[in-house]
């Protein structure tokens, strides 16, 4: 299996309120099609690491590679293109655009990418909605949906461009057990069937147990690259 994501000596400082080393020399590799979870106590730097991997935070030292390509040091516009094409990011809070319908929220990144026509994009968006069991909510404004529905719409949005890597920050943190099960099942399916790589930060032991590999972090370093649960 080929390496899809490699981190080399990642160091991250927070400057406010006082200078603080959040990540201390982190290095690891993730293989294509792997479903990796990152666990650790609050404040251990796992979300910070995920944001750096997602290219949304560029203020760090060290190097990130997507496959063979060095991502570190790319310009904002190049990073935006990279996120659009190769990364699906799922936030802890859904972060949908409240003015748009659920369907439109899912379609927007795909329209931006411009790989398919509008009709095709709409068709694909409905497929993702069905996959997550929220296709009946498609035409409601995002702000009118329940928390669980919003989170599933956000997941569908992350999947729309068939990204190579899907990153999630506590994707099930705000979901009940039934919704958590749906999400987990979806993740396993896309990882196995579509060979997409998933990196998820989580507190949920059961969620981590369902993944291929769990990394454990504490105080800004990875203390275990393959935690046995």
């Amino acid at each position: 299996m080929t390496t899809i994501l490699k981190a080399e000596n990642i160091i991250k400082y927070f400057h406010k309120p006082i200078k603080f080393k959040a990540l201390n020399d982190i290095s690891f590799e993730i293989k294509e099609g792997e479903f990796v979870t990152i666990m650790g106590k609050s404040g251990c730097g796992k979300s910070t690491l995920l944001y750096i991997l997602s290219t949304m935070d560029t203020d760090y030292e060290g190097k990130i590679y997507f496959g063979q390509q060095l991502i570190t040091g790319l310009k904002q516009n190049a990073l935006a293109k990279e996120r659009n094409r190769n990364i699906g990011f799922i936030f802890q809070f859904h972060y949908l655009l409240p003015e748009f319908t659920a369907l439109k929220n899912i379609m927007i990144p795909a329209i931006k990418l411009g790989r398919y026509s509008r009709e095709e994009i709409e068709h694909r968006a409905y497929e993702k909605l069905k996959l997550l069991g929220v296709d009946d909510q498609a035409l409601k404004p995002a702000s009118k949906l329940s928390g669980g529905q919003q989170q599933r719409i956000a997941i569908a949005r992350a999947l729309i461009n068939d990204p190579k890597i899907i990153m999630c920050d506590e994707p099930t943190g705000n979901l009940d057990s039934k919704n958590t099960a749906i999400v987990l099942e979806t993740f396993q399916q896309i990882s196995k069937e579509f060979n997409q790589t998933i990196i998820a930060v989580t507190h949920d032991g059961d969620f981590a147990k369902a993944s291929d590999r769990t990394m454990e972090m504490a105080d800004g370093i990875i203390i275990n690259h393959n935690l046995m649960l």
Binding site: M56, Q76, K81, R83, R85, E99, I108, P109, G114, R118
Partner: protein, 418 residues
């Protein structure tokens, strides 16, 4: 195919902008209203300034020409001038000489002046002092010997006529148009005869063919218009005698630039209204400065209001910007989205503001203030409308562009964290 993809990309940015505008109707309305108020104030006050300025100029040019050609008084020269310091010059007391004030070949000169491209019109003119007599009543006054059509094209005499007709002067060689004050004091009516006596002692019986009324009662009590030939007779001169040529030019402000040219052309003196009327000139300058600073402050206030509201509406959408960036929208798209939102608000607000301004102008232009103009001197000014449009759209574009560009540059996470 590549082109099609590009079009779709263009589309989604504008679609997002439009959705923002349409879903946040109240916010959009308030922002557009703020722009409208700023632009309405800008349009209205600038039209006010322009109207007032133009009115003041018009009032001034009702009585004085832009440029006057005449022969100035000569001062006598030394009789014998010494060539060296050894000898004394022989002089007599410098005095005004008794040389003729007559312009040579006046009609040819008038035609030559008229042929200049900066000259709008020119009129032969003769100002004379005289007495108006009717029975024992006698009034001191001055009269202008003119070709009434030429004179009318310069000073719009027709608009002040209350009785009779200026064309009557053309058909009546001894006709006279007098101010209503003279008519009242001499107790004469239209078509009555009066006699006038010039400073040369020539007496002439004139027929009243018109009465005029200006806003100035002194003028109404002294001034009259007669034919050039009558004036020449009263001064005991022949038909080629003329003292002045009054010239109207395209742009009164440029009058001093043309005096040298006219001096060369005519061989006599040329005086611009600025030289002849320094107090009017300084008044005009004061007014210009005052109105200029008012306009500038209105521009500042309007621009600041617009900047604030547009800037705020972009800042409120910071979170949305971060979400879009996380989905892969680059800086250019973010700027495009928020710039087009600002422009939509800007264009709506500017047009509404211009309409509001035009309504205010319309209301004020119907306010009666009396005097010569009768109504408040304000009107729909196309130049002001164009500058309002430019100001409104430029300021909103700038106000939308800068915060959006700032947001476009930072990491999305930085926005989420704050």
């Amino acid at each position: 195919m590549g082109n099609l993809k590009k079009n779709i990309k263009l589309g989604i940015d504008y679609e997002i902008a439009l959705t923002h505008i349409l879903t946040k109707k109240v916010q959009t309305f308030i922002a557009a209203l703020a722009v409208a108020i700023g632009i309405a104030a800008f349009t209205f006050l600038n039209s006010l300034v322009l109207g007032f300025n133009r009115d003041s100029d018009e009032t001034l040019f009702k009585s004085i020409p832009h440029i006057r050609l005449f022969i100035d008084d000569d001062i006598s020269m030394p009789l014998m001038k010494s060539d060296s310091n050894k000898y004394t010059s022989v002089i007599i007391n410098p005095k005004i000489t008794n040389s003729s004030k007559k312009l040579i070949n006046p009609q040819h000169l008038v035609n030559q002046v008229k042929s200049k491209n900066y000259v709008e019109n020119a009129a032969s003119w003769m100002n004379i002092n005289l007495f108006y007599n009717n029975g024992v009543a006698q009034l001191n006054g001055s009269s202008s010997g003119v070709n009434i059509l030429e004179a009318n094209s310069l000073f719009d005499i027709e608009s002040t006529i209350v009785e009779g007709n200026i064309n009557e002067l053309l058909s009546t060689s001894n006709g006279i148009i007098i101010g209503v004050g003279i008519a009242e004091n001499l107790n004469v009516k239209l078509n009555d005869n009066i006699s006038v006596v010039s400073s040369m002692g020539v007496i002439k019986v004139m027929k009243v063919v018109g009465l005029f009324k200006t806003s100035n009662s002194v003028i109404d009590k002294t001034k009259s218009y007669i034919n050039l030939s009558s004036a020449q007779q009263l001064m005991a001169q022949g038909p080629d005698y003329l003292t002045d040529i009054y010239i109207k030019i395209n742009n009164p402000n440029n009058a001093p630039n043309y005096t040298e040219d006219l001096k060369l052309l005519s061989g006599c003196d040329a005086e611009s209204w600025q030289e002849a009327n320094e107090s009017a000139q300084s008044q005009k300058k004061t007014r210009g400065m005052m109105m200029g600073s008012i306009s500038f402050i209105i521009l500042l206030v309007a621009a600041f209001t617009i900047y604030n509201i547009i800037n705020m509406s972009v800042k409120q959408k910071m979170h949305d910007i971060a979400i879009l960036k996380a989905q892969g929208f680059d800086g250019k798209s973010v700027v495009k989205i928020f710039l087009s939102e600002a422009l939509i608000i800007g264009i709506m607000g500017t047009i509404a503001g211009m309409i509001l301004g035009a309504i205010l102008i319309n209301i004020l232009s119907k306010v009666y203030i009396g005097g010569e103009n009768e109504y408040f001197p304000i009107q729909f000014e196309p130049t002001v409308m164009i500058s309002s449009l430019i100001v409104g759209i430029t300021v909103t574009a700038i106000s939308g562009y800068f915060p959006a560009r700032q947001a476009a540059k930072v990491d999305p996470i930085t926005i989420f964290r704050s």
